[in-house]
Homo-oligomer: 396 residues x 2
């Protein structure tokens, strides 16, 4: 029998999705599971989205142009313009979610064996895409005690080798919720320019910040030629099922390579590109509202966590995640316990063990990521369940 | 300034799309362009598709499960069952069009530097995906004189090296329209089994065959463990903009790697998975009808081409493409001539130069691919324009 490739053997299961079978089993048994594991927003989609799709009356449903439907691209330009980022159509290509934008950014900047510097813990899909591209991630570990701040320049420069091609910056960050300061961004831009590296900046959660104004690395003039922005409608418009994202750069040599990749995979979905046009043109009407809601939830979850004995966490400033250190040895084992053994009022909880967000083996073993994508009432109950479950786990 | 990767530099522009700017210019000048270049069907989509999408009433638009929405997967199982291919849900994962299925199949079977045997001319995206995966395509050249039949086993075996991991079979074939005989398929299966290779079988055009019954390599019992099927709704349901395909295999080790890749990229579009459920369950009601229409067009185009002096072609048995050898030295130059200089009744034609469908440099220079995706009246006019244009080109 022929053998699966090394990259196929090496790739890890998604930390977010690998406990799915246990969760489904609990649900079949009639247990209510509060799902804080996936960043799948519960908030209603913008009211214009489905009507805009339902207006589609063509007899055919053809490929969108590989560089995007022009009205959709124009809507993105308006969107970025509202944040002070002036783009031309050739700076931007719609993708199949932020996921495809990440893959294309990696492929356009690296060859097999090359290295990308990342800050860990990091959104686990980067590990998967690096495996698919046969590229090595070189991690710099951020600490919960330090609220996941970036280290000084010298600690980053130390990790650069002849094979380093890019640095990834997720801002606001998944999974930590950290929001980068202008000083942190300037530090990275200076390093990238000094060492001829690309910055892959993932701004999927741009508007979900709890103080200050949403921004972009692309606002930094010095970042222009070395920055690739990957972005997505999934979180800010609560519609990850639409599978629309975008890859953006002022670097035209890079964008011409990305366009060729985009032509190979043909196009992003036609109906969703159309449906998102009115929403992109007036994004802040929606994103301001949901950010207020996420802030309420952040406050509730953070306050509740700090009251649970043995739990360590820091107040996140953006996105809708929080990393919590738990008083357990192995959070994978604790999550299994939640799904298979623990019930409180016939309810339980699903969290994501944090260790797979780390590149370095052995780190994050006592940590979990919580996505606060449920309403405040559910979150209140979920926090109670977490408290009870930690007690029961300790006494098991 | 940081540099684009080698794979980003090496990837070619899509042969189908690279003349787009010239075509748009002609259209802006008011010229009617008959587009026989892209496999973008003009036929109306199945009437159930949009209504099924428009029924969607959820307040959220969440990720579909990475292994697909269960009702959508069930609809595919019914679809394959109708062709005598019995599958379980774990044998199949919905993808973002056939394109993503091809990429995942390549990634699951090869590592950088590995080789895949292909028959040229071949669907050009394979060249692009191989570049993205840093894999080498090893071509076996098929001849127009021989109606693009597969060569004897010994000529295929000759191309196998220690690095060969898979053989690609597109059936019915894009761009030649060839439909493989059972003998050809058995030959490949025997070779694959004998040399521990995977067969990546691309059956996007399955139902569009002009004699005999549509089938699948998966019907061959000996092919079970070595075959990966990539498939798509784009052509058979005339909806390439839906971006839904599927990757299928009985090999569970392989499918577990594919599932991990699928989790990294999260999911295929939610609305389109839902919309296609009723259509997949009763596919033949639609595909029989469109196949009759494509047969009419095939007959018209083939007959017209054989009457143009100097044109060489063979009758294709499936898909909706035909490769024609033209009495020109360089078909790229001829296509440019069509778009920029030639007008007949203020109309012209867009074709795809065939040379980029070849892996071997220098082959196919006088060939073009025609996609008969227009109605018979338009095709009749297009064939007249082609005849006039070849005369004008000769006398230019």
């Amino acid at each position: 029998m022929p053998k699966v490739s090394k990259r196929g053997q090496n790739i890890l299961s998604s930390p977010i999705r690998k406990f799915l079978p246990l969760m489904l089993k609990a649900e079949i048994e009639g247990v209510k599971v509060f799902k804080l594991n996936v960043g799948d927003p519960d908030i209603a989609i913008p009211p214009q989205l489905l009507p805009a799709i339902k207006k589609y009356k063509n007899k055919s449903l053809g490929y969108a142009p590989s560089p995007g439907i022009s009205e959709h691209v124009a809507a993105w330009l308006k969107y970025y313009g509202d944040f002070g980022v002036k783009l031309k159509p050739e700076n931007l290509i719609p993708t199949v979610g932020g996921a495809e934008a990440i893959l294309l950014a990696i492929l356009a900047t690296t060859d097999p064996g090359d290295e990308i510097i990342v800050f860990e813990p990091l959104y686990a899909s980067y590990k998967g895409f690096a495996a698919m591209a046969s590229v090595k991630l070189v991690p710099i570990t951020l600490k919960i005690e330090n609220n996941f701040a970036l280290p000084p320049a010298k600690d980053i420069i130390k990790k650069i080798s002849r094979k380093t091609k890019a640095i990834v910056l997720i801002n606001p960050d998944n999974p930590t919720g950290a929001v980068r300061t202008r000083a942190e961004i300037n530090r990275l831009v200076k390093i990238a320019r000094g060492h001829n590296l690309f910055i892959i900046t993932d701004e999927t959660y741009r508007e979900i910040v709890f103080f200050g104004q949403p921004g972009s690395v692309l606002q930094v003039p010095a970042a222009k030629n070395c920055t690739i922005l990957v972005d997505s409608v999934s979180k800010r418009f609560s519609c990850p099922g639409a599978r629309i994202g975008v890859i953006v750069s002022y670097n035209q040599v890079l964008m011409s390579a990305v366009l060729k990749f985009a032509m190979v995979r043909l196009s992003a979905p036609t109906l969703e590109q159309i449906g998102l046009i009115p929403i992109l043109k007036n994004a802040r009407a929606y994103t301001k509202k949901i950010t207020r809601e996420y802030k309420k939830r952040r406050d509730l979850v953070f306050t509740a966590l700090t009251k649970i004995p043995g739990v360590k966490c820091q107040k996140p400033n953006g996105a809708f995640y929080i990393i919590a250190g738990l008083p357990v040895k192995n959070s994978e084992d604790f999550v299994k316990f939640l799904l298979t053994k623990f019930r409180y009022q016939n309810q339980t909880l699903m969290l994501t063990p944090a260790q797979d967000f780390y590149v370095t083996p052995g780190l994050g073993k006592n940590e979990v990521r919580l996505a606060y994508v449920l309403n405040t009432q559910s979150l209140k109950q979920a926090m109670l369940i977490l408290k009870k479950a930690l007690e029961a786990y300790k006494n098991r």
